[in-house]
């Protein structure tokens, strides 16, 4: 009898020992509360000792302590010390408004053939309405002098207005206005000396307000980022690290890091551990490509899913952004005059000079494969007007090792195209011959296309277009990152249009499900049959 029970006791001891060992291992693998994700540790190290220091107080420099009459005089004062700054800057896109360093290559750029589905074209800098965002004095474009203060002054002073008024007052010979001019020159002098590295406001004065207003274009760039909190953006939050734009968009010789039309920001992602000279423009550079805690399943996603996809759940979380611009509706009048109609959010939903708009807030991104580059349809590219034209769209593929699933804002609209030549058109908007004066789209197109040297047949119609903006700012705190079941879910998955790959929870295979269930019930049936068989065939072998 004892021999009969010994194997059973031995088996029981083995099972109990295994359970105890597993139990202990389970406790041992639980991370300590103070353990931090690798990405956070690396990022803290990367931004340690972030304080800038300076060897200069510009208010003590004689060259800047003058009664300036023009912006050009101010620039001359700047380059009297910073002798190479203007020459460097002239070679960059912020000056040329062309993507290529070769001035003859005008394929991509606001000053070239590039268009969008907002104000459409800069018309080779002939449309002066666009030039308030050019880095020259007095909207002179590349014919003028560099306005250093646009990026390097944080006084908030309106230099263009003040200098224009000073000139007018000094010329009109009125002692009262001469006195105003003298006071103004003193204000200019005080403001000029507030020289700084670019602040978020410097960059945002243009990049937050592109397309004609706050938040019109990007969706993840608007004036709410001038002084955001961590909830809006963990990097730029004034209650957090308070990053300026140039903290990530690093600059060499005035070339600022970032995507330029079809050229991605970087060719490959590298962390600062792999290469301490790697550009800081990507998340990976500071956070590495395994930024989560060691035992986290999320680290298995980083070769497929971008950081932004999970960590920017919605964009335009404070200010609304424009989602639709229909040029076909432009030109309506009330009592013979152009008018503006406002809608929800207090934003214009109709302007006679521009057409009809729609705005949204807390917008869920649309997701596409992206390797960092985008297509760009210019006014010199043939289009198929029977389909929606993708003026700018992400480039990427599931088989491309550099591609990740990335969030985008897709701005939709309708804009004019050449019915005969099948190309998008570039109407001139501001100025005497512009649409905003004449309300004659045909004439505006004739004039606008001429500035770019692109023939126009004389016949136009409208086509529906899209323009994609990568969503990479407004990074939310980690507790607000997406949950697994916002993607890995059968219905309403955020990644519903990412096809060609299997996603657990989202996708199912009826064949595999059938095989699986058959296996489960088959095994159960097998066990039951075996047990029943053993019971009825025991034949009194037990005592």
């Amino acid at each position: 009898m004892k021999q009969r029970y010994l194997p059973k006791v031995f088996m029981a001891l083995i099972v109990i020992s295994s359970l105890l060992f597993s139990f202990q291992s389970a406790f041992a693998s639980t991370p300590k509360i103070e353990d931090e994700a690798l990405g956070r540790t690396l990022a803290r190290q990367a931004v340690k000792d972030n304080k800038r220091w300076s060897t200069i107080d510009h208010s003590k420099i004689d060259a800047l302590n003058k009664d300036f009459k023009t912006g050009e005089e101010i620039t001359k004062a700047c380059i009297s010390c910073h002798s190479e700054a203007a020459t460097q800057f002239h070679k960059t896109i912020h000056w040329t408004w062309l993507a290529s360093g070769d001035k003859k290559d005008i394929r991509y750029g606001k000053a070239g053939y590039s268009v969008n589905n907002f104000c459409i074209s800069g018309n080779a800098m002939e449309d002066k309405g666009c030039l308030s965002c050019h880095t020259s004095w007095n909207k002179k474009g590349v014919e003028g002098d560099v306005n250093c203060l646009k990026c390097h002054n944080d006084s908030g002073f309106n230099f263009n207005e003040a200098l224009g008024d000073i000139k007018a007052f000094l010329e009109d010979g009125d002692p009262d206005t001469n006195e105003i001019a003298t006071d103004l020159q003193q204000e200019v002098k005080e403001a000029v000396s507030q020289v700084t590295f670019p602040t978020r406001k410097n960059c945002g004065d243009c990049h937050f307000k592109g397309g004609g207003g706050d938040g019109v274009k990007h969706g993840d760039l608007d004036t709410s980022l001038t002084k955001p909190n961590r909830m809006l953006d963990v990097h730029m939050g004034t209650d957090g690290k308070n990053f300026t734009c140039t903290r990530c968009h690093t600059t060499v010789d005035h070339h600022i890091a970032g995507r330029i039309y079809t050229n991605p920001a970087v060719e490959t992602r590298k962390s600062l551990i792999e290469d301490d000279l790697a550009p800081k423009i990507t998340c990976v550079s500071c956070h590495s490509d395994e930024p989560h805690k060691n035992d986290s399943k999320m680290n298995d996603h980083t070769n497929v899913v971008s950081c932004q996809a999970c960590h920017i759940p919605e964009y335009a979380r404070v200010n609304p952004t424009m989602m639709w611009w229909d040029w076909t509706k432009a030109g309506k009048m009330k009592n013979g005059k152009p008018y503006i109609e406002k809608g929800p959010f207090g934003k214009p939903v109709y302007k006679s000079i521009k057409g009809e708009f729609k705005w949204e807030k807390n917008v869920k991104p649309e997701y596409f494969w992206s390797n960092g580059s985008q297509t760009s349809t210019t006014i010199n590219d043939v289009i198929d007007p029977a389909k929606v034209v993708k003026v700018s769209h992400p480039v990427g593929d599931k088989n491309d090792p550099e591609s990740r699933i990335f969030p985008f804002k897709i701005h939709r609209g309708k804009q004019p195209y050449d019915k005969v030549n099948k190309k998008l058109l570039a109407p001139m908007l501001s100025g005497e011959k512009g649409y905003w004066e004449t309300f004659d789209m045909n004439k505006a197109i004739e004039h606008g296309n001429k500035t770019l040297g692109i023939p126009y047949s004389g016949e136009f119609d409208y086509v529906e277009t899209t323009y994609a903006f990568p969503i990479t700012h407004m990074v939310a705190p980690k507790e607000n990152a997406l949950n697994c079941n916002q993607c890995h879910i059968r219905k309403n998955s955020r990644l519903a249009n990412i096809t060609g790959l299997y996603m657990p929870g989202r996708d199912k295979s009826s064949l595999m499900d059938t095989i699986g269930w058959l296996s489960v019930f088959g095994a159960l049936a097998g066990v039951l049959l075996h047990g029943i068989g053993r019971f009825f065939t025991r034949n009194g072998k037990e005592e």
Binding site: A168, T177, L184, K337
Partner: protein, 116 residues
């Protein structure tokens, strides 16, 4: 005689029409550029004495239409602006300049202006 009479009448009529057209041209005739700074000076002075919190004026030309500003300034109804002590000592010429600034940069003007 009749021809002479007709010619003279035509000339007088022409002159009258031209003269009235000059008056009919829109807007006050002050110096709007000077008016901008006079307006700012009012608020700077008012802020120094604690009459307002900030020297940046709260009311901008683009807040109203040309017609609305015309009504306010022709009736000298400046209550909305506040700082009445500063407004009351302004000479007529300065008020005309400020009126020109507001009228020429009203919301329905070619170049609406806001104070920053």
């Amino acid at each position: 005689m009749f021809k002479k009479y007709m010619s003279t009448s035509m000339v007088i009529l022409f002159l009258l029409v031209s003269f009235s057209m000059a008056f009919a041209s829109e807007g006050p005739g002050g110096n709007d550029r000077k008016g901008k700074y006079t307006y700012r000076k009012v608020y700077k002075a008012c802020a120094k004495t604690g009459g307002v919190e900030s020297a940046t004026p709260k009311i901008s030309p683009a807040d109203k239409t040309m017609g609305q500003w015309q009504e306010i300034f022709e009736n000298k109804n400046f209550d909305e602006f506040g700082c009445m002590d500063n407004w009351s000592v302004l000479p007529d010429k300065d008020i005309l300049d400020i009126y020109s600034y507001f009228y020429n940069h009203a919301s329905d003007s070619p170049s609406p202006a806001t104070c920053k």
